[in-house]
């Protein structure tokens, strides 16, 4: 068997999956998006741009997603970084494994059940009741964008912690000593050594969280009370309630296009950041 044949054979399983589970469905969605809603719901083939022309009717859903996804990603980053730093650099190696497991433990329970827990925590008999007891009246948390944000940060935090942890863990600790020996104060060591060397982890974590958030629908549905509406929720509604597959497909295509653009721009920015750092290093 030639190396070429062997390579093809080894790639075949992944390739088949890729074709069957990504290329084919995406093509179907694209074809549907030019169709029309069937009288009782579903789709009839056509060639019309009507569905795309109607996209502004879901503007709020896009706006909510494109606001809360970046805010959620940023908030998760700000909370995850110190935690990852502590785990990778400061934590006693004895405890490291246990602490890491603790970060994963929530994943053992379904996000659905964990979101339900938040419904009770943020509902009138949860946190607001405690606040009221402390004298702060009239706080409403459940079914607000804040509740959705809390759910998002909570749900996605581990996905941010791990990539950053890995990048910090690989960091050569002697570089930190060198920086300090050369007289740099701690903040400067962090900004000029630690942070640049963990950029890859930050980039991966942000990308993972952001991409998943753009498709999120469960957390807004459960903690937003049907009032904080993401594109994901619009899609669920179009396919599972109003049964407008054509329009639903157009919304899905729009979401994919927005993601492709955002991710491409993001990758460019990150690689440029990486490149400029190399320049600095050479100098």
């Amino acid at each position: 068997m030639s190396i070429r044949t062997r390579n093809w054979l080894l790639l075949a399983p992944a390739g088949t999956l890729f074709l069957a589970l990504l290329i084919v469905p995406l093509t179907v969605v694209l074809i549907f998006s030019f169709g029309e809603r069937a009288p009782a719901g579903g789709v009839v083939p056509a060639f019309t741009l009507e569905q795309y022309a109607n996209l502004p009717a879901r503007w709020t859903a896009f706006k909510n997603t494109l606001t809360l996804a970046p805010i959620g990603t940023l908030a998760a980053l700000l909370i995850a970084y110190p935690l990852a730093y502590f785990l990778a650099v400061r934590a006693d190696p004895k405890w490291k494994t246990i602490l890491l497991i603790l970060v994963i433990v929530p994943f053992w329970t379904s996000i659905l059940i964990r979101s339900y827990a938040w419904i009770f925590l943020l509902g009138g008999r949860g946190l607001p009741a405690i606040l009221e007891w402390m004298g702060i009246d009239g706080v409403r948390l459940i079914n607000t964008p804040f509740a959705v944000l809390v759910g998002i940060i909570y749900g996605y935090l581990p996905l941010m912690v791990f990539p950053i942890y890995v990048s910090l863990d690989r960091l050569d600790k002697r570089l930190l000593e060198a920086s300090s020996d050369l007289g740099a104060p701690a903040w400067r060591t962090f900004l000029q050594v630690t942070l640049p060397l963990s950029v890859s982890g930050i980039a991966t974590g942000c990308m993972l969280v952001f991409i998943l958030l753009m498709g999120e629908f469960l957390i807004p549905a459960m903690l937003g009370g049907g009032k904080v509406f993401f594109v994901g929720n619009a899609l669920v509604d179009l396919f599972l309630q109003s049964r407008n597959w054509a329009y639903g497909s157009a919304v899905a295509v729009a979401l994919v296009v927005i993601m492709l653009i955002t991710v491409t721009v993001y990758m460019r920015l990150i690689s440029r950041l990486g490149a400029s750092r190399d320049d600095v290093a050479i100098m």
Partner: protein
Amino acid sequence: MTKVTDHISKQKFMEELYRFKKGSITRRHFLNVTGLGAASAVMGAAVPSLLTRPAFAAGDIGDRVILATWPNYHDPANFEAFTEATGAHVQMNVFGSNEEMLAKLQAGGSGWDVFVPTNYTITTYVSEDLIEPLDTSMLPNYDPAAYDPRFSDAGSVDGKLYAVPKDWGTTGYVVNNNHTGGKKLTSWKEFWDMTMDSFSGRTMVHDYQLTTIGNALKYFGYSFNSIDEKELADAEKLLIDAKPHLFAISSDYQPSIRNGDAWMSMAWTGDGKQLNTDMPEIEYVLGVEGGEIWSDYYAVPKGAPHRDAAYALINFLLDPQVNAKEVLAHGYPTADAHTNKLLPESLLNDPILYPAQELLTALEFGAAVTLTDPNRAELMARFKSA
């Protein structure tokens, strides 16, 4: 909250979960004992295999039957009795709108054996070829003569029986009288006006186009079933204006009403009855302008994977003894004379189940066209994404 236990055994948990799965009549209890709500949705599928299967006598119908139904709609004990008698476990999926049920069946592969469509949807299921004509020889407990035809007519299309009546009811709203300052609410006008005023942030509407749009239409005195563009535009404006004042858009409103987060919600008869029984301050109101009267049916989707079990379950639930227990649990009236003979007088005179005649006459049955009308569907979707 009555009692909070912080630790329960695995077996006890599964028992509680199983009870809860069968109908959230015991939801409050379940939440108290376990502290979990959605557990059912996730773990439901695992439940049948965890329970031992009893020796089976009556002819093998398989080990499970999958039922698509509505929230708070069954007596869990009846399902346990069914399992004991037949060996088939009842696995329940709960829905919030007929549209959602239709969408699942249209997409195919729903896996359901029995589902509970509302009167106005049955003609669409038949024309879309999604349900099968019922084989009455497999439903010996079904006695067509025993039913009030108003609530059983919709089960037959072109002279063929496709669905048998489960129960009927009305769509009104529940309001917590502790917050109304002694004012007695009677209309949909007050429902919407209060929502945008003193009840801001405390009202829930269904995640269901028929009732949410229909009851917004009633604000203006239009037909509950209107598909007139101008009238729908008025309703949409009201809904969009009211949206910032809503607590939530959801058809599962009991938990929020019970814990006090929501003070008012569109509601169906049985939820009104269940809430009123547990919390007398919760009142069930039918708008004087009218609204919906409906009848729900049992039907079998084409290609039901456990067809024999489906018929066995429907037949079991139609047994007047069983049905009477169902009614006592869910609080919806049944149109079956045999069952009514077994029910206590107090229930048959209950004003929530059997509203005064003048309130009833103003109500309309849902119209088939509302289910498939693209404008109503898109209006609801726009309202939710606004």
